[in-house]
Symmetry: C2
Subunit: 602 residues, 2 copies
């Protein structure tokens, strides 16, 4: 019997003991984090699936795993079809719909209320009602009961995030949150999102992969004092002193019980970022719940001057590491023998050489040839593809530095591109430039700009199936809300000066190659003579060369050529001095003016 | 005492008799129509206000009228401030918010459940609850009780809309609706929107200004039979024969009572298009209500080949009338002495000369100089502005023809424009062209295209505060859902081949001038060599010259110049032969190639 077969069997026995006909296992933690700690990797433990998003449902005689379009092939490699059926997580076929079709009449289906929102439970409950079945909250997670050797939550200590980097003291931030509570006529707010807590208290942790946050909950009160719930062993003297007397620290495990002290109080809770168990505890405590977005979300998205300065410093450092890597790649790849894993490792080494890297901001997408056609591809040991001549290589990566979080994609050709590759690359680049140079009135939402990045692909009957931009944190999450440049998800959130986003149009040809050009951009005010509205635009923060060998000059307008030349001049001016001699010479060559390169050809 | 003071007093007396502390008077009919019949003009009768949208609230000692930004000056001219306070209808200050602040504790506020949606009543109820006040449905409208000489609903007879123009028989349409009911597992659907009824039964009426519909309700059943509720005197033999035996005709007044026959049935009702009274009647009848969009809305929006052919014929006829008018204007306006009302009347005469005009599709926006800065301006007798030299004149108008509904805006200069006018006009034109030539994949929603029409204005710090496009009916409503090109209202509705929309970017300089260039456009498939997606684009349906005197050539790209020349060549080719000699010669001059005009200047 394979270990996964044994685990599934053990879980079914446990469910039978608990009088449950099924159980739902999401890829989630109690904070609904994008990346989760090892202790919360229940889906991977149970099924073998290593993707970043998914859910499983285990019934007595059936088990299904639900994944999105990114993982249709990966799930087949990692999860045995002997015991699991593969299902799409799309609404029509996802967990709720599937349960409505497959559970026995009057079944009792368990779920862990610390891992789901109320919206999710309402949806699943409605679906189960079709079979007169019930959704039952468990007190303890049955997966944990049968998971031998389950990792303990990390006991990494907290560190203080200095006011000089944050640009705003925790006291000032708690005052801002208290002002939001006054506006909402609430007495307190529950903070459950780990990055909101790290931001509010100017602390960082090491409990979650890729994101420097600590497992914690917090309550911020209308008097700007707070209760912070965190494992006591994570506190150092420096952190305790930093938190001060206005922040009462409690063990994380007493959080739910502590909510009883809020009886009769008006408590703001974010229904998208807070699990059902917390709502249940607040109801049991007889509080008046006000559903409202976590007020730290927007405050955190608008970077302070210090955070912007830190971000820029981190970008230059990271840009130099990336340029070092691209130079290495340009030199080594044509010789043959490289593969995706080697490239990802080498890029990490360049970042580590900065001496400042705290973590990667996400697992590197190092993708050669057809791998690059999968926007979220990650190579794994043993399955990596070689980096071959006349093929595209795409690398999407980022670092966590104490002063900023980076996220950058470059697409290069090893050898000679086809005319089609150049056509596609140039259309993606035109879209990238159109967004980078967009000017728009205050009040514009990100989804209004998405089309600017797509239209040159549309003109040729092409498109890409992902958003054009996401928010990025300041030494926090690499995917941070609330702003987005995405016409499908359509965050109804005006772009505001100080927000940082990615600008990452792409093109993917299945089984062949993929292209993405990603820089981070900062929303800034744009002064325009005679303007009747306050106008905004973007400042590009990321500096690394764009592969001129992939540019089809005849598709560019003069304005676009000028933008590329000016951008490359900035890359050389800012990154060049950070490089050693051969890399610096290489950078000087690859960032020279496009017109110069054209005339050299003649 | 003024008549309006008397009417207000009479209404208050009536309310007191009915033990009501207040009453809400919307600009609405029982079908939530955009334009309403004279019998339903309660707001105008009570207050004197003649705008197209608004509401009033009458309390014992206060009365307020709620209007949107279009009507801030008009309301002050038409409604006495002695008796009415002026309020904005924006959510923060609208009827619900205002009631929450101003009604006495425990007040009983009346409303007519035939004039409001459930969503509206829920919102107002929640607001009144703050003062422990109640919202009370009235059996009969108290305004009607005191309105001496209230017009009767129109008794105009129905006409048959021929299958040759509709392109689809009523039987086929009812079958399509029945298919929707099968998909929704419903037994019947309530049709309350007058254009849905006219479309479904291939009938037209004359009960509402600007829209050829008749006051009626309908039920369509899953067996594709129907019940039509319409005043019996509206039926002619031809109509009865056309409706056939599968359509049971009942007097309109028995509609609510008839709903009792649907007891226990599953009935689909559109919550956005159906008033609270109908929901109440269905609940009283113990039906199972399924809230779903009226299925005729989308079916109607996708024009049949016959409707498209009819639309094109109507556009040419209407275009010839408009060109005749523009020629007249070009000849007469420089002489002086014209005014906005004269121009609107003359344009109507040109349309009437076609012999086919059934109605204007909306009240003509005939706007000179500063009038044009108000996007929804309408001149009134005695308040019209003269059409003066070196000023802009904007005319937004349309006709109802049996084969199609038109809506077109042209902006012209009488005399010589300023450089700023040319700059603004050309930016609007560039946006118009960008939308007209857009290519986009199937699945694209209208709001994704809105930015294409704005960005040249944005580049100069300018914008316009209205959507870029609305749907248009086939001899039905000039504003027809569900599709929109509007980034604020964001209809989540993919554009589909056969949909007709307006393309109408603009620019408005308060107190000075306004610009709008509006053509109707048809969504069509676009074949592109090598396309990976099914791509769509637009075919322009409206033909009339764009004033070259307002074009700043240096702002145009070569592609834009080519588009304008090709468009003008089409105008001449299609409209020229429909004009008489002097107008035809004029059209030939104003549609000549831009390059030709440039070289002539040299």
């Amino acid at each position: 019997m394979s270990p996964y077969e044994e685990r599934l069997k053990a879980l079914r026995t446990e469910l039978a003991h608990r009088n449950l006909d099924g159980f739902i296992v999401p890829q989630a933690d109690e904070h609904l984090s994008e990346y989760i700690g090892a202790y919360a990797q229940r889906l991977a433990w149970l099924t073998g699936f290593r993707g970043s998003a998914g859910s499983a449902v285990v019934l007595a005689t059936r088990a299904a795993i639900f994944i999105d379009g990114r993982y249709t092939s990966q799930v087949r490699e990692q999860v045995s079809s002997d015991h699991w059926s593969y299902e799409s997580s799309a609404p029509q076929t996802g967990v709720a719909a599937w349960l409505g079709e497959h559970v026995p009449e009057r079944a009792r289906i368990g779920y862990d209320p610390w891992l789901h929102t109320n919206r999710w439970t309402a949806m699943v409950r409605a679906s189960l009602a079709q079979r007169n079945a019930q959704l039952v909250a468990v007190d303890t997670n049955p997966v944990d009961a049968v998971w031998d050797g389950r990792p303990k939550p990390s006991d990494a200590t907290l560190t203080v995030y200095p006011d000089e980097l944050a640009g705003k003291s925790s006291t000032a931030k708690r005052k801002e949150l208290a002002d939001c509570l006054v506006a909402e006529k609430a007495d307190a707010v529950v903070l459950s999102a780990l990055d909101s807590i790290a931001w509010t208290f100017n602390i960082r942790g090491r409990d979650i992969t890729h994101t420097p946050v600590a497992l914690a909950y917090a309550l911020v009160h209308v008097d700007a004092t707070a209760d912070l719930f965190v494992a006591p062993e994570k506190l150092t003297d420096a952190v305790s002193q930093h938190l001060g007397t206005s922040v009462r620290v409690h063990p994380r495990r007493v959080f739910a019980a502590h909510l009883a002290t809020l009886s009769k109080k008006k408590v703001a809770v974010d229904p998208e970022r807070t699990v059902a168990a917390i709502f249940a505890a607040l109801e049991a405590a007889d509080t008046v719940v006000v559903e409202a977005r976590d007020p730290a979300v927007l405050l955190k998205a608008i970077k302070s001057a210090a955070e912007i300065a830190g971000h820029k410093a981190a970008q230059l450092r990271d840009g130099a590491a990336l340029c070092g890597f691209l130079h290495w790649l340009a030199r080594e790849a044509p010789k043959g023998g490289l593969d995706e894993m080697m490239a990802a490792r080498t890029l990490r080494e360049f970042r580590e050489e900065t001496g400042c890297l705290r973590d990667l901001s996400f697992a590197t997408i190092s993708a050669a040839g057809a791998s690059a056609a999968l926007p979220h591809y990650q190579p794994t040991d043993g399955n990596q593809r070689p980096i071959e001549t006349n093929q595209i290589y795409l690398v999407d990566s980022g670092g966590q530095y104490v002063d900023g979080t980076t996220d950058v994609t470059r697409t290069v050709i090893v050898g000679t591109p086809t005319a089609e590759m150049k056509d596609r690359f140039t259309r993606v680049l035109k879209g990238h430039i159109a967004l980078a140079t967009a000017v728009f009135p205050v009040g514009t939402r990100g989804y209004q700009l998405d089309t600017l990045a797509r239209r040159y692909l549309w003109d040729a009957g092409l498109d890409y199936r992902h958003g054009t931009g996401h928010g990025v944190g300041a030494y926090l999450c690499v995917h941070e809300g609330p702003q987005l440049i995405n016409s499908t998800m359509r965050a109804d959130e005006p772009l505001l000066p100080g927000m940082i986003l990615s600008n990452e149009p792409g093109y993917y040809k299945a089984g062949d190659y993929g292209i993405r050009i990603e820089n981070l951009i900062l929303v800034v005010e744009r002064g325009i003579a005679g303007a009747e509205h306050k106008m905004l635009g973007f400042e590009t923060l990321t500096f690394a060369p764009i592969d001129r060998a992939l540019i089809e000059m005849s598709l560019l307008t003069q304005k676009e050529r000028i933008w590329i030349d000016a951008y490359h001049a900035d890359v050389m001016r800012l990154i060049g001095p950070l490089l050693k001699k051969p890399a610096m010479d290489w950078l000087s060559t690859v960032t020279r003016s496009l017109d110069a390169s054209t005339s050299r050809k003649k």
